[in-house]
């Protein structure tokens, strides 16, 4: 627990008793929870979405086709529907719908959507010449409607050559950057540059090279920094950085995905072949003019291959330092410099009101979307001051992207506007001054002016101090005028989620919690029961065999009554042999009667019993194959003798058989 101590003088001392412990526990928990954090994220934040409409060409002749792509990407919500613009003048030849990158987690009655995308790809056939202004495509996310950019298409009559048109809707490549006609297509942008080896200190075994695409950028202009690792032999595993490159004086945006595999390209340096790995790649925006430095990266490189584990080659980890690279950021030129600060990049601004007519005292949302390439986080649009309208500080949302390693995206400003007096208002164009680094000229990105009509009575201005009357300011208090000023802006968007039970509150949760342990116990019990049954089955086999012998003897009575002496003696003989086999645990069918007697004596049977047994078996065999029948009395006596022998065999414990 930490306590903050406040005094009248305003000094604050902090007691961090236990904070180290908290950090340690939090760190441990973080390790334990990190795997599940991705799996079961907390409730999704407020929904946001971007909708972009692009075409592979914007000018064409009648009868030609173009591909129109409407891409809606939502965070914290699901793209429920996408409404395409009016396509009068075109035939839709084909339509494709894809919903990639959709990650959803369901908890209880709540489905948490991390991100989802919907891409509609339409192939359009131009039917009539003319200029077509496609209105924005609309996507509905979480009940809210998001709009895309507009698109202009020019269709010329068949036989005419369409005017050259830029790619629209996306980040158009700078014409100056485009390769000349007939040039080879650009190589892999991640491949190391050839030519003079700069940004590195050559080492025949391994070295680090830092490459920047501009040495003298303007302040605020993107510099793409790539750090390569050159190694002669392969690497066993991913190198670890013991020191990251510093980028003081830059705003940095990483251009590599967080998860990626290391892939090598081959390059010869002074005739020596090296494997080259991309270790870092980021966009750096200079924040001030002057000499700035991209610091050196230090890597521990495990060289060799995994097969060296089994060979005689010693495994080594090489430590290599990169070379700091100096960048001279040029101040923006004075010629034509506007009075306000200019933002470096290429931007467009669109503004809109969610309603154009409103009652006084009600709020409307004024939205300004800044799109383009450059350091969007640096973009500011001052809140306009309009007499009769109150505007709250804006809520700002950023969606930063880097297609083609060119950082840009969309920055959205949302103001709540409340008319205090009735009347017709004109909201001035929203915008800011820009500086195009490629052209080296200043400009201005600005939206169109908007109109708002307010009707109703005059609404009173808010009091400067809205503290309740019972909260008198205390004498000597140095409380700021508005303590809530350090709060973030009002959240004007909300999914207005309703209460949903957590997993722990679900009635099935206790059962689910206990199920694995219960299954484990059941498995153990079943296994134990099966083992015991098997043991019993093994131990009782002789007893079962002995019981079978007695049953055979019981049949003798029935056979005797039937007068079947042959079968009667056969059963009697079989019963005695079965009983012997059960007790001895070995077959006795292979012995002659004399050999059987000797074997029984060897296994510990009294001689007298062995003799009687053999005599009885011999008698039974003889009687079985004699021509004359036997009287019932004789059969009964033979049965009694056999019964007595069975009882004695049952009590007999044989000595262990000799192993062959």
């Amino acid at each position: 627990m930490a306590l903050a101590r406040h005094s009248r003088k305003g000094t604050i001392s902090l007691d961090f008793a236990g904070s180290q412990g908290v950090r340690a526990v939090v760190a441990m928990l973080a390790v334990a929870l990190v795997g599940t954090a991705l799996f079961a994220a907390g409730p999704a934040r407020a929904q946001s979405a971007t909708v972009r409409m692009t075409a592979n060409r914007t000018s064409l002749t009648v009868g030609e086709t173009l591909t129109l792509e409407i891409r809606a990407e939502a965070t914290g919500g699901r793209v429920e529907s996408v409404e395409q613009p009016n396509l009068t003048g075109f035939d839709v030849v084909s339509r494709q719908l894809a919903t990639p990158m959709s990650f959803q987690f369901g908890f209880g009655g709540r489905t948490q959507v991390v991100q989802s995308s919907t891409i509609q790809t339409l192939t359009l056939l131009a039917r009539r010449p003319g200029r077509y202004e496609l209105r924005p495509a609309r996507a509905v996310v979480g009940g809210r409607t998001f709009e895309s950019n507009r698109l202009s298409l020019v269709v010329v009559p068949a036989g005419q050559k369409p005017p050259p048109g830029p790619l629209q809707g996306g980040f158009a490549p700078d014409p100056a950057d485009e390769p000349p006609a007939g040039a080879e297509p650009p190589a892999d942008p991640l491949a190391p540059p050839t030519g003079r080896l700069d940004g590195a200190q050559f080492d025949a075994e391994a070295f680090i090279r830092t490459v920047v695409d501009k040495r003298e950028p303007w302040v605020g202009e993107q510099v793409t920094v790539t750090i390569y690792l050159y190694v002669r032999s392969g690497i066993r595993s991913a190198p670890t950085a013991s020191r990251e490159p510093t980028a003081e004086g830059f705003w940095v945006h990483d251009l590599l995905p967080p998860q990626r595999s290391l892939e090598a390209t081959e390059q010869n340096v002074d005739g020596t072949p090296f494997r080259v790995y991309v270790m870092r790649r980021f966009a750096a925006f200079p924040l001030r003019a002057g000499e700035l430095t991209i610091g050196a990266l230090t890597l521990d490189v495990p060289t060799g291959t995994v097969f060296d584990l089994f060979g005689a080659t010693p495994q080594r980890a090489l430590r290599r330092d990169g070379v700091p690279v100096a960048i001279r950021a040029r101040p923006l030129p004075d010629a034509g410099r506007p009075t306000d600060e200019a933002r470096v990049g290429r931007f467009t601004v669109e503004s809109s009101l969610d309603r154009t007519q409103v009652a006084t005292g009600d709020a409307v949302t004024l939205t300004a979307r800044v799109r383009g390439t450059g350091n969007l986080r640096d973009v500011r649009i001052p809140t306009p001051a309009i007499d009769g309208l109150s505007l709250l500080e804006p809520q700002i949302k950023d969606e930063i992207e880097a297609p083609g390693d060119l950082v840009g995206g969309t920055r959205t400003f949302e103001w709540l506007v409340v008319p205090r007096r009735p009347g017709s208002y004109t909201l001035p164009p929203l915008g800011f001054d820009t500086f195009d680094p490629a052209a080296g000229t200043y400009g201005r990105a600005e939206s169109a002016a908007l109109s708002l009509v307010a009707a109703g009575n005059v609404v009173a201005e808010p009091r400067p101090d809205d503290a309740p009357a019972d909260r008198e300011p205390t004498e000597g208090a140095d409380e700021p005028a508005d303590p809530a000023a350090s709060y973030g802006p009002l959240r004007t968007e909300s999914a207005l989620r309703r209460r949903a039970p957590t997993l722990v509150e679900q009635p099935w949760f206790p059962y689910a919690l206990g199920a694995p342990a219960a299954v484990w116990l059941v498995v153990l019990l079943v296994a134990a029961a099966l083992r015991r049954a098997r043991t019993r089955a093994g131990a009782s086999a002789p007893q079962r065999a002995f019981r079978g012998a007695r049953k055979r003897l019981a049949k003798v009575d029935a056979l005797a009554k039937a007068g079947d002496a042959r079968a009667c003696y056969g059963e009697l003989s079989s019963a005695l042999k079965a009983a012997l086999e059960a007790r001895l645990g070995e077959p006795v069918g292979g012995f002659t009667l004399s050999a059987l007697r000797g074997h029984l004596v060897t296994r510990g049977m009294p001689e007298e019993l062995a003799t009687r047994l053999v005599d009885e078996l011999e008698g039974a065999e003889f009687a079985r194959f004699s021509a004359s029948g036997a009287s019932p009395d004789e059969l009964s006596r033979a049965r009694d003798r056999a019964q007595a022998l069975l009882d004695r065999i049952d009590r007999f414990t044989p000595s262990p058989a000799e192993r062959p």
């Binding site: 627990m1 306590l3 903050a4 406040h6 009248r8 305003g10 604050i12 902090l14 908290v22 526990v25 441990m28 928990l29 334990a32 929870l33 599940t36 799996f39 079961a40 907390g42 409730p43 009940g143 009600d362 709020a363 109150s390 709250l392 709540l416 506007v417 409340v418 808010p462 009091r463 809205d466 503290a467 205390t474 208090a477 140095d478 409380e479 700021p480 508005d482 303590p483 809530a484 350090s486 709060y487 009002l490 004007t492 909300s494 999914a495 207005l496 989620r497 309703r498 209460r499 949903a500 039970p501 957590t502 997993l503 722990v504 509150e505 949760f509 694995p516 484990w520 153990l524 296994a527």
Partner: protein
Amino acid sequence: MTARPRSRPASVHAARGRCASTVAVLAILVSVVAAPAAADSHRALFARANAAFARGDYQSAAQTYAQLVDAGVDDADVYYDLALSHAKAGAHGRAIYWLERALIVSPGDDAAEAAIAASQAALGRRRAAASGEATVQTRPPFREAAVRGVHVDTLAVLVLALSVLFFGALVVLRFARGETTRLASWIVAPLLGLGLGVAALGLAQKVGLFDTGDAALALDEDLALLEAPDPRAATRGLLHEGERLRVVGRDRGWARVRAPGGREGWLRDDGLGTLRRDKR
């Protein structure tokens, strides 16, 4: 003479069946129609609250946001706006309460954490100005802080997953024949067991198994802590706005609370904000 119960004719059964079906269909229709209507009214309320806030009418804004909460909305953004309205009106205890509620729904909300710190600092300054010096608890207790940034569902899923893996590893350990499999199970099972233990402790802390009563906050300054649930009872002490409490009992509009330092006494319910999600 006794009357025999007569069996109902089949037509009566059929009519009842039709009636039940009609009622069921109507109920479904009503629910289908009512759900978007409720959503619309929630949106309208939210817009009205935002407008009141924009006008600077923070009390109306707070009341309207509170109506949304009463209507069953359990959303971190609404709680945040409600807190902001209270903070603008100077009611920082209530602001902290709603921010804590926002963090229950959406742990790890940095803006809410920063806002809590701002309101606690404002309370500290106000109290210091009044009495010369003030001590404000700026962080929750140790155990609470350990799981503060993790959603209860995250911990629940973690416990379930680790439980399945742990007992699965035990089963493998019991039946595996291969030496490699057994060795791997011997290594993995204790680690999974340890993870399961930690996660289960975290979940138990999160749902309050280790604590007596619900966590709560004093919403107003100088709330009297009484010896009995009666306004005429003797005062045991005063509670500060935003002070963390434990509700250990309730009795007809009164709550028996335990304050830091072991002080215990009775407090009216309306001066107290319980940090527990409403069950609707």
